[in-house]
């Protein structure tokens, strides 16, 4: 006799989804995910902080989209409207700006911690490369978003930045026109930058994020070489803590701490509006880009007008390009063919790079 009743199973909502999504495998995977425990464990939090701040950017960005208008006639006024007429508009805008700055800072910290902990080594080279791409996208977000309030500072910062693009050899003027939507910074630039900021860059970032995070899940969190060596010598596996719930709870604490910091910054140090951009007014004295562009900005200031017959800006841009290429290629010159890391070389290179960036950023700010 065939059973007339189906075998009794827990008729929960979870079971309903499990039959259709097979998400048991995901929860199994997450239950086994671990995080290495050692003196540098704290640095593992910064990737998550960057991601968390990015999510905050998306949420506050979408909220701002409800009221923002991307035309020269209305951009500044719509931001003023958000700041003065919309309930908590000042808060959403200030959080958006502060979170942007903190996100980029966190991305740099994350990147340098990966370098110092040598997490770029085989098999994680592509994680490093996609991460570099994500940093570039974050800087692109910063540059495009900076123009959107259409005030004097953002107008001239964009002018200087897009003028720099024209110094790229061969395709400079085309690149400049593509960025600006014309020969000068104007309404066409604003439309383009708005499109970059809310559509193109988010789409690209989502793709690269999925790739980056997917690989991290696949290979797990990397253990630094010296920790591995220590445990190999002792004959045991290196200490790990479960991601769920331990590390995740720690991460939640850190994320909430970041929220507290954001709240304090947004409420106590809100951002002002400046004055509406006037294309015909002369550039104000002491114009500077955002802090994350200060180092290349100051470097360019130091390069003389012409170096061996080549224009100074071209030399500067080539230099930055080479530097960026060198740093992106870290997994390749940072490892020996036999798989060991060139620890001293990488650490030295990273320290030098940090020294250059911080010194020149400070000088760019003070001068």
């Amino acid at each position: 006799m065939l059973p007339t009743q189906p075998i009794h199973r827990k008729k929960t909502i979870a079971a309903w989804f499990q039959d259709r999504l097979a998400w048991d495998s995901i929860s199994q995977f997450l239950a086994h995910k671990t995080v290495p425990v050692h003196s540098g464990t704290i640095w593992y939090a910064f990737g998550g902080i960057t991601l968390f701040l990015f999510v905050i950017q998306v949420v506050t960005g979408i909220l701002l989209l409800v009221y923002y208008r991307p035309t020269p006639a209305e951009a500044y006024e719509s931001v003023q409207f958000i700041m003065t007429r919309v309930a908590f508009g000042w808060l959403i805008r200030s959080i958006h700006i502060w979170s942007a700055n903190l996100m980029i800072l966190s991305a740099f910290v994350h990147m340098f911690s990966v370098a110092f902990l040598h997490a770029y080594r085989k098999p994680r080279e592509l994680v490093w490369l996609s991460g570099i791409m994500l940093l570039a996208l974050a800087l692109g977000f910063g540059f495009s978003g900076y123009l959107l309030p259409w005030n004097t500072i953002s107008f001239f910062a964009t002018k200087v930045g897009t003028d720099m693009a024209t110094f790229v050899p061969w395709m400079g003027s085309t690149l400049g026109r593509y960025l600006r939507g014309g020969d000068a910074v104007g309404g066409a630039t604003l439309t383009r930058f708005f499109g970059f900021h809310v559509a193109v860059l988010p789409a690209l970032t989502s793709l690269f994020l999925l790739f980056h995070l997917g690989l991290v899940q696949k290979f797990g969190i990397s253990t630094p070489p010296w920790v591995e060596k220590r445990f190999r010598g002792a004959g045991t596996k290196s200490a790990q803590m479960p991601f769920f719930p331990d590390f995740f709870l720690h991460e939640l604490m850190v994320w909430y701490g970041a929220l507290a910091l954001l709240g304090i910054l947004a409420a106590l140090f809100p951002f002002g509006l400046g004055e509406k951009a006037d294309a015909f007014a002369p550039a104000p004295a002491g114009i500077r880009p955002e802090w994350y562009f200060l180092a290349p900005f100051y470097t360019l200031k130091l390069i003389p007008g012409h170096v061996a017959g080549i224009e100074g800006e071209v030399v500067g841009l080539l230099g930055f390009g080479l530097l960026a290429f060198w740093w992106a290629a870290l997994p390749f010159w940072g490892q020996r063919p036999d798989g060991t890391v060139r620890s001293k070389l990488v650490t030295g290179g990273a320290v030098a790079f940090i020294a250059y960036l911080s010194t020149f950023s400070l000088l760019g700010y003070l001068r």
Binding site: T34, Q80, M83, T84, W90, L91, A239, Q240, M241, P242, P245, D246, L249, H250, L252, M253, Y256, G257, L259, A260, G263, I264, A267, L268, F269, P270, F271, G272, L273
Partner: protein, 413 residues
């Protein structure tokens, strides 16, 4: 043949007229060369005139005997007393001037005849100004030319060349401090520092060709061509008949004629108050002055206070641009109140002051609201932070609990 002649005539018409005077004198030195050099900048040369058009003689002849002969009408250096008539020969002839500029005035000589300078000259006094003293002799430029001695920026200095020279002016028994005083004035400041060419110079109030100081009775009208409100109020005020009876020239009594300084509230009720020069502190006039000074000072203080709190709010990150803009309305009322002083009646001053006070009060309240909003935001932040820190504390406790639970059950990772 006929065509060739025509072409030749046309060519001759295009060529500059021969001016042997200019050619010879340019090659001389010193005082004989100076007029020739100067004439190169002259508006007359640009229009095709020659030396002979004023001095007579024959500009076509290279022979000095012929070119400077009385037979050819050579008159040499004209007498100073004859200069206006000489210039008027062209400049008062509308048919002649029409050839060069149909809308150019042709009444300068007639005006000059009515002026103090013209009247003295007619009596044979050659020390007074004639056309050449102001416009230059040989290098006469258009008045619109910035290098012309009668260009608004240069005119006061030109007048001062005689009028500030004590030795020169001794026989005329008039003061020689006008230029020095004018340089202290707010009008000169507008002209020279702000480049506002509409600001009055000597000719604006005294006339240029018909130069004569305004009659005492018409001083207010002269000032009133620009300062309309002040004149209208003054004419209806109690000061007008009193000043007229005293023949004191209205506006000049309080504001001086040449050293017209930037006005300030101190003129009403400060240490060197102008009103106090006539009115005792306990007289009716003195009381009105003191009251007006008080009202205006009060409005000024309220505006400054509102500015202060709004600036404080703005630098704290609060958005107060509308209130800051509304402050211009309050300032407009302050300007109106100060202008209305010229009615010398307290209601005229108190009305705009009250309107201004209302606006300043509203803006101050907006500043206060912004500061309160700043406080509310900080309270909101505190509430949110409390919730956040409680959550963090809860998380930490959960983590601790989990670790204890793992240790107790002997689970190791």
């Amino acid at each position: 043949m006929k065509h060739a002649l025509l072409l030749l005539l046309l060519a001759a018409a295009w060529l500059p007229a021969k001016d042997s005077c200019l050619e010879c004198h340019s090659q001389m030195t010193g005082d004989l060369q100076a007029p020739a050099t100067a004439f190169r900048n002259s508006v007359h040369l640009q229009h095709g005139f020659t030396c002979a058009d004023c001095h007579g003689g024959d500009p076509n002849s290279d022979d000095p005997e012929a070119s400077m002969s009385k037979a050819h009408g050579f008159a040499g250096v004209p007498l100073r007393t004859a200069i206006p008539k000489l210039c008027a020969r062209c400049h008062s002839d509308p048919n002649f001037m029409r050839k060069y500029n149909p809308s150019e005035r042709v009444d300068q000589a007639a005006e000059y005849a009515t002026s103090v300078h013209g009247q003295h000259l007619a009596k044979g006094d050659a020390k007074v100004a004639t056309c050449i003293d102001c416009h230059g002799v040989h290098d006469i430029r258009a008045a619109r030319d910035a290098l012309s001695p009668v260009y608004p920026l240069n005119l006061p200095k030109t007048c001062s060349q005689c009028h500030a020279d004590a030795a020169h002016m001794a026989p005329y028994k008039i003061p020689t401090d006008q230029y020095a005083n004018y340089l202290k004035s707010v009008h000169w400041e507008e002209l020279s520092k702000r480049g506002d060419l509409s600001a009055p110079n000597c000719a604006t109030c005294h006339g240029n060709h018909g130069a004569k100081p305004p009659a005492v009775a018409s001083v207010a009208a002269v000032c009133g061509t620009c300062h309309v409100f002040e004149e209208q109020l003054f004419d209806k005020s109690p000061h007008q008949p009193v000043f007229a009876a005293m023949s004191t020239g209205a506006c000049v009594v309080c504001h001086s004629n040449h050293a017209i300084l930037k006005t300030s509230d101190q003129m009403l009720g400060g240490k060197d108050a102008v009103c106090a020069e006539c009115h005792d502190a306990d007289s009716a006039g003195g009381k009105i002055a003191a009251q007006a000074a008080g009202l205006i000072q009060n409005l000024q203080n309220r505006i400054v206070a509102a500015d202060g709190i709004l600036e404080q709010a703005r630098t704290s990150g609060m958005e107060v641009s509308e209130a800051i803009l509304r402050q211009t309305d309050a300032r407009q009322n302050l300007v109106k109140a100060r202008a209305n002083v010229h009615a010398f009646a307290i209601e005229a001053v108190s009305q705009p002051v009250e309107a201004g006070l209302a606006i300043a009060a509203e803006d101050y309240r907006a500043g206060e609201a912004a500061m309160k909003e700043k406080y509310i935001r900080r309270m909101g932040l505190a509430i949110s932070l409390t919730a956040i820190f409680v959550t963090i504390a809860g998380l930490w406790l959960i983590i601790r609990w989990l670790h204890r639970a793992e240790k107790e059950s002997g689970v190791t990772s």
